[in-house]
Amino acid sequence: MLEIKNLHVEIDGKKILNGLNLTVKAGEVAAIMGPNGSGKSTLSYVISGKEDYTVTEGEILLDGVNILEMEPHERAHAGLFLAFQYPLEIPGVATMTFLKAALNAQAKSRGEDELSPGEFMKKVREAAGKLGINPDMLKRPLNVGFSGGEKKRMEILQMALLGPKMAILDETDSGLDIDALRIVAEGVNAHRDPNHAFLVITHYQRLLDHIRPDTVHVMAKGQIVRTGGPEIALELEERGYAEYLGNAA
């Protein structure tokens, strides 16, 4: 599904990713764990096409197609979704309006008709209900005045509605209390199937208690330095990242 080969990335001349290799198969839930500053968020931004970064070498393939030359919205149309660590506020734009704009834009890219207002409302209400999102919140401007937990739930709602084949969750657990964490995890788990893949970026083991990964990658200094099963996460929880900070350079 997602293949990253020898990826080198700079921002303002500073090297962040150093020949990173990563493969996520269809149906797989892969976790990336790593200390602060290891380049985890950069990786998620580069995959989804944020402008500020310069890719100096390497490629990112989605279903075998190199997406590096694609605009962010084209990557979204190709089935890529990023749940932001810090979701953006869009003042004056009702959440419902935003969801509709996004769904319609993606339907258009597939040459499909827009959902009728009735179908759309039904779909959103159902998905929101599962995530414990109050319908009144959907009338409020997107993310404006939302709590940290509400913002993260809204990200998962968008993911649920857009149904991407490759979803990246960037520190979705940060700022969540345990109840919200569980709801968010259930939202992700509900979409696990052989056609969907997830890349879960996190600093802590906590989230992985709820979203059981198939694979865990350890990232340090812009590279994947170790790959294994869920047991790695537990090990990291105990021992911390110290050993990786020494030998990755």
Binding site: S48, G49, K50, E51, D52, E71, P72, H73, R75, A76, H77, F81, L82, F84, P87, L88, E89, I90, P91, G92, V93, T97, F98, K100, A101, A102, N104, A105, Q106, S109, P141, Q158, L162
Partner: protein, 490 residues
């Protein structure tokens, strides 16, 4: 979101630098000789067959104007205007004054049809619910060519006609109120307007009457080398209500044209006036050539207790905009509102805002201004809020937000706040933001392309103000905003 989609579609259909209303109507005009002197003032007055008092009023203004200096405090730059190189009067030849539709030159009717302003009542009546009807006063260059629904309005006691006509049919009202809000001595352009104003709309709503339909004036500048100086006077008598709309367009021309209007509103006890403007004068081309200089004085006087005046404006056109629709809050418990969206793109310059002058007790005002600057434009909000010594309990809330699109535009906020009464409470909030790259990226990550993302964010930014416009115009304004910002991205 259909509205956004529609705006984006509209944007696609129009090339950069394609002002939709830029056509010229080929019609023979009667022009005053170029230049300005007492004879020209007399010429205009004679054309209108005006009474002696009005001619004297004009001449007083003209003599005063000769002693005045063009103001330079606004943050706008333009070459010196040669006031002797303009025509101060231009009228389509065949229609000496507003008469019945049958007498209006068909070429003029076609012009307004092309602008989307239907003037034939029968056609309007065919497709529109009575409550959605809009009566129109169509002003073409210096004269009002026709006013619709006059009879129906007259049944409610509402007077809606060209001001040149009101001078003859209701001289007592004109004489009583003209120049009482914007005196002939007020400022350089208002004084010039007082000397040479040619036409405009007159509205009188009798006591206790809620005007049965929206009233509107549609201004069109057609002739070249012509200044347009219209004068609008609206009086809402005790306990009455009126909602009034103003629209404007002009042909594309390489030379800049001057538009110096004066609007006076008077609200007596418990009366309410809602005045909305969708200003779409030709903004000039992308290099700043041509366009309208929109130097306008608009002021409302809340003369009566508990009266209310509300200004809503969507400013997208003009090469230069210089206007501050204001409220004098004289009556006890009166209130003023100002809602504004000012958009500048290309080389446009906007210096606009409002004045809220609190004179009476317990007067309240609210200012909500949204400036959007794109291209190489400059966008300034300038606002004044003052409380007089006697304005006990005065309250103002001001919020002005600026949004920048791109790297080469500028936004400025210049508030003047002065209180001479310790009990007055004035609040001022201002923000300047760029459409954050992060916001755009966020929207695009969800599948919106860049234009759709900008349209969505901008519509969100101006939403509170758009909600103040009458429904039909809100949709129009939304489209207009998208078109004005077209080409601003990337």
């Amino acid at each position: 979101m259909p509205a956004v989609k529609e705006t984006v579609e509209t944007v696609r259909q129009i090339d950069v630098d394609q002002y939709k209303y830029g056509f010229v109507t080929n019609i023979e005009s009667e022009l005053a000789p170029k230049g300005l002197n007492e004879d020209i003032v007399r010429y205009i007055s004679a054309k209108k067959n005006e009474p002696e008092w009005l001619l004297e009023w004009r001449l007083d203004a003209y003599r005063r104007w000769l002693t005045m200096q063009e103001p330079t405090w606004a943050r706008v730059h333009y070459p010196q205007i040669d006031f002797q190189d303009l025509h101060y009067y231009s009228a389509p030849k065949k229609t000496p004054g507003p008469k019945s539709l049958d007498e209006v030159d068909p070429e003029l009717l076609r012009t307004y049809e092309k602008l989307g302003i239907p003037l034939r009542e029968r056609e309007i009546l065919a497709g529109v619910e009575p409550q959605n009807r809009v009566a129109v006063d169509a002003v073409f260059d210096s004269v009002s060519v026709v006013t619709t629904f006059k009879e129906e309005l007259a049944k409610a006691g509402v007077i809606f006609c060209a001001i040149s006509e009101a001078v003859h049919t209701h001289p007592e009202l004109v004489k009583q109120y003209l120049g009482t809000v914007v005196p002939t001595t007020d400022n350089f352009y208002a004084t010039l307007n007082s000397a040479v104003f040619s036409d405009g709309s007159f509205v009188y709503i009798p006591p206790g009457v809620k005007c049965p339909m929206e009233l509107s004036t549609y201004f069109r500048i057609n002739e070249q080398k012509t200044g347009q100086f219209e004068r609008t006077l609206i009086i809402a008598d005790k306990g009455s209500y009126v909602s009034y709309l103003e629209g404007c367009t002009a042909p594309k021309r390489d030379e800049a044209q001057l538009h110096a209007a004066v609007v006076e509103l008077i609200a007596l006890d418990d009366a309410e006036i809602k005045y909305s403007t969708v200003q779409n004068w030709y903004p000039g081309d992308k290099d700043g050539k041509g366009g309208i200089y929109n130097f306008v004085t608009k002021r409302g006087d809340c003369r009566g207790a508990r009266s209310k005046i509300s200004w809503t404006q969507v400013e997208t056109g003009s090469a230069i905009t210089w206007k501050y629709p204001s409220c004098i809050l004289r009556g006890e418990g009166s209130s003023g509102e100002f809602y504004s969206i000012a958009i500048s793109n290309g080389m446009q310059q906007v210096d606009s805002g409002t004045k809220m002058i609190h004179l009476g007790k317990n007067t309240t005002s609210k200012i909500l201004a949204k400036g959007i600057a794109a291209g190489r434009s400059d966008n300034t909000y300038r606002g004044q809020v003052t409380a007089h010594r006697k304005a006990t309990g005065a309250r103002n809330f001001t919020n002005c937000d600026s949004l920048l699109i791109g790297q080469q535009c500028g936004a400025h906020t210049i508030p003047y706040i002065e209180s001479k009464n310790a009990s007055a409470v004035f609040e001022h909030e201002a923000t300047t933001s760029k459409i954050a790259e992060d916001q755009l990226f966020y929207c695009m990550q969800r599948g919106l392309d860049e234009e759709e993302a900008v349209a969505l964010i901008v519509n969100g930014f101006v939403k509170e103000v758009l909600q103040q416009l009458p429904m039909e115009f809100a949709v129009e304004a939304q489209k207009l905003i998208a078109v004005s910002l077209e080409g601003s991205v990337g």
